[in-house]
Assembly symmetry: C2
Homo-oligomer: 471 residues x 2
């Protein structure tokens, strides 16, 4: 527990209004979007400036108090759970868009800016920020950068790390530093910008971000493709890429997900097909039209039973929204929904999806699979009940086998959700003990006292203060 005098010091730094202590408030910060895991912070602090962040960190560092930076808490790997208590640093007050620089095609923002709001702001100027994680309507840019969030446009446009070119950050000792800037080319020393992206709040607290922008694509078209077999769907993805066409989006939904999504969104999707691909291409009009025609040909020649082109932007938007609603739709089925993030090289997609089905049958658990087929990033999603310990045990065995399979196919244990606390046990299988030791040494270089988001990513040991959430 943090003693009262320290809490008073925190109040002095950020003001009484921005230090939350009451148990209802602490409860709100005891979980994120990850099921089952939960732990209570001692206090929640909402800094309003970089200087305040620096003062809070210095105080915490001097007293060895854990600090867990947090945006909207949409994390799916327990990354923002205060497993050792301490201070949850809620960054959402630092939500200014400082600049959209139309000459250099950059934007400079605070970490608390909501991703979807940022999209609207830059798109109103004819500019484009591609990363579009599923939670973008509520997630913050700071959280996206801490996690290196992905999304549906990764195939063509890459992920968050490909758009972060400058950062202001604060070390645990309170030192305020900058790396990168507005220069597209900059090789002055090691690339600390890229190292901080995806470091999940374990190395430093990011207080300002400079992001690279693109011109907004002129137009886009959306196709839905229905297949009677997963292999057909996977082959359509492969053949499209082999035809040297890189769509902005190639989303995959299996039959179970399609049905649930259709019940939820009433799109009138066919109930009897094995898989659906949602394909979107953007760019200059002529190219989009030509690419879409080519994709339709490929889909038909690879046995798609039906191919539909959205007739209006509204219809496209409706389809994409339905896909984005997959998690919400699935989560209505059972009390607990576990959304996972196994990723394989694109060419191993069908094998992976078939393995997931086999594994779910083997352990008698209900797993639906959807995800980003274009970049091999799948989201096997398990509908279960955290109160049923026997079933939860089977679910964990199933996911263990799913990750082992992904690794055996040259894949990874997480494509875009991060390691947080729930993936720690798999990390050494992916990066090896040697890789973990290097990462631990890097962590020690930034955070010698280990106060930043302890018990996460490459933590050596951690004392969880965990309770199963009461439904």
């Amino acid at each position: 527990m943090i003693d009262a005098r320290l809490v008073e010091r925190l109040v002095d730094i950020v003001g009484p209004k921005w230090v939350l202590r009451d148990s209802n408030e602490l409860h709100v910060y005891s979980f994120d979007a990850t099921p089952i895991v939960q732990a209570f912070p001692d206090v929640v602090v909402m800094p309003g400036s970089t200087a305040e962040v620096a003062e809070v960190l210095k105080l915490a560092n001097d007293h060895g108090i854990p600090v867990i930076p947090r945006g909207s808490g949409t994390n799916l790997a327990g990354g923002t759970i205060p497993v050792q208590g301490g201070i949850v640093l809620n960054m959402t007050r630092m939500n200014q868009i400082y600049e959209v620089d139309e000459k250099n095609l950059t934007a400079t923002v605070g970490p608390g800016v909501v991703t979807g709001e940022f999209h609207k702001t830059v798109e109103a100027k004819g500019l484009f920020y591609p990363p579009d994680p599923g939670s973008m309507r509520i997630s913050t840019i700071g959280g996206n950068v801490a996690q290196c969030a992905g999304g549906m446009r990764g195939l063509k446009y890459g992920v968050t790390k490909d758009y972060v070119i400058g950062l202001e950050y604060v070390l645990p000792n309170g030192q305020i530093l900058r790396c990168g800037g507005k220069n597209y080319k900059d090789v002055a020393g090691y690339d600390l910008t890229r190292l901080l992206v995806g470091s999940e709040g374990t190395l430093a607290v990011i207080t300002e971000l400079t992001l690279k922008l693109l011109p907004l694509p002129e137009t886009k078209r959306t196709l839905s493709v229905f297949c009677t077999s997963l292999v057909d769907a996977a082959r359509i993805v492969e053949r499209t890429i082999s035809a040297r066409i890189i769509p902005a989006t190639m989303e995959f939904l299996d039959q179970a997900t399609m049905r649930v999504v259709d019940d939820f969104s009433h799109l009138g999707l066919p109930r009897d097909v094995a898989a659906m691909l949602l394909i979107e291409q953007d760019g200059p009009e002529e190219q989009v039209v030509r690419d879409v025609e080519r994709i339709v040909q490929i889909a038909r020649s690879e046995g798609a039973v039906d191919v539909q082109m959205a007739k209006t932007p509204e219809e496209s938007a409706k389809l994409m929204t339905a896909r984005r609603a997959a998690l919400a739709a699935l989560s209505r089925l059972r009390p607990t929904t576990i959304l996972e993030d196994a990723t394989v090289p694109r060419s191993r997609l069908a094998e992976m999806v078939e393995a997931i089905i086999r594994i779910s049958e083997k352990y008698q658990v209900q797993i639906c699979t959807f995800g980003h087929a274009g970049d091999g990033n799948l989201h096997p999603t398990c509908m279960t009940d955290e109160r049923d310990e026997a079933e939860i045990a089977r679910v964990e065995q199933a996911f263990e086998e799913i990750f082992a399979t992904a690794l055996s196919l040259g894949g990874t244990i997480t494509g875009e959700h991060g390691v947080g606390m729930t993936k720690m046990k798999y990390l050494s299988q992916r990066v090896g003990e040697g890789g973990i030791e290097l990462m631990q040494a890097i962590k020690a270089a930034f955070d010698p006292n280990g106060i930043l988001n302890p018990g996460k990513v490459v933590a050596k040991a951690f004392r969880p203060r965990m309770v199963v959430r009461q439904p």
Copy 2:
């Protein structure tokens, strides 16, 4: 000096043919493409496999012997000079292209593959590897990755780090590790792949690389634009980007460079204009045609005295080759040519070029400027004579002022050449003492004994063993 017994151990590891000791051979490895700096290695070792690299490193690490990894030695910041002697590790034997994976759009190669050869190989399959550093005809992919090489296509396509998705590397203790792979999305722990890119051989020895490829653009067009003022040229670059057009290439040559290039390449360039822009757009036919028309309009409306479109691919190639020959052409003027690498945000281009002219007059030194206008990466190039100490002193003062100006404009001390040894004195002005301390701690995490490329990038102290090269 390395004693004879250790040399014998090296011979046992790689075979007698691959250990070079004779003084003529050592002389070849005593310099790279950087003028003035030179130092002799004790021995040159050419490993043929990752296992051999690991054995050599372990031996060197156990005996505290410096190891300097090197490709073709085209470095321009003294990055491959063995300033403390030791072993130059020539990686050029590991030059296999192991795989071009057309399904996942990746290639897996050895570090010794020559960049230009790699371009040919993937382009023959309709694929595209955008990084195109000036030295690409002889530089190696391993060297490009160690330096995070840039090139002419950075504006639209980014630089080397944007295409490296997996690495095999060896730590000084001989441990062989892998990071990344073929997954476009992978957030399993800190991004060691990106950290190793641009680490200039100071953290680990890269032994295998997995690179991301794109479809080869359908077509391209090349424009030359001639302006009577630098400001006009800069405004044409700005207005093009503001019009949401991102050309593949926007190269800039000042009058002095143009004249020298023309004398060298006989292109019949106008002698009286202040600046030339070489603009190339690639992509689908219709878009390229439309973009080029738009750029021509912008150029004319911004006072370009002449705009010419290359009529044939050969003519385009000739123009680009002439631009690539700028350094070779300039180097004929005086005994010593110092090519620098100051970079500013695109919008500060004109200010920077004017400052360079002012500074060269102030110190009475001859500096021509050319470079990558699209991404603000300029190459002020000084023609001097290393035998004239007084002039070299003025040259150093001039460059110090040029870098200070770049920093004051929000720029950086190196856009694509790296820190090596010649930029170390400027690094703290760019990243701050705090940034340097972090980088030193990261270096210590990988290389606790400091054997890898000592005296470079963030070296705390180094005993240079330097002689001025005899012309």
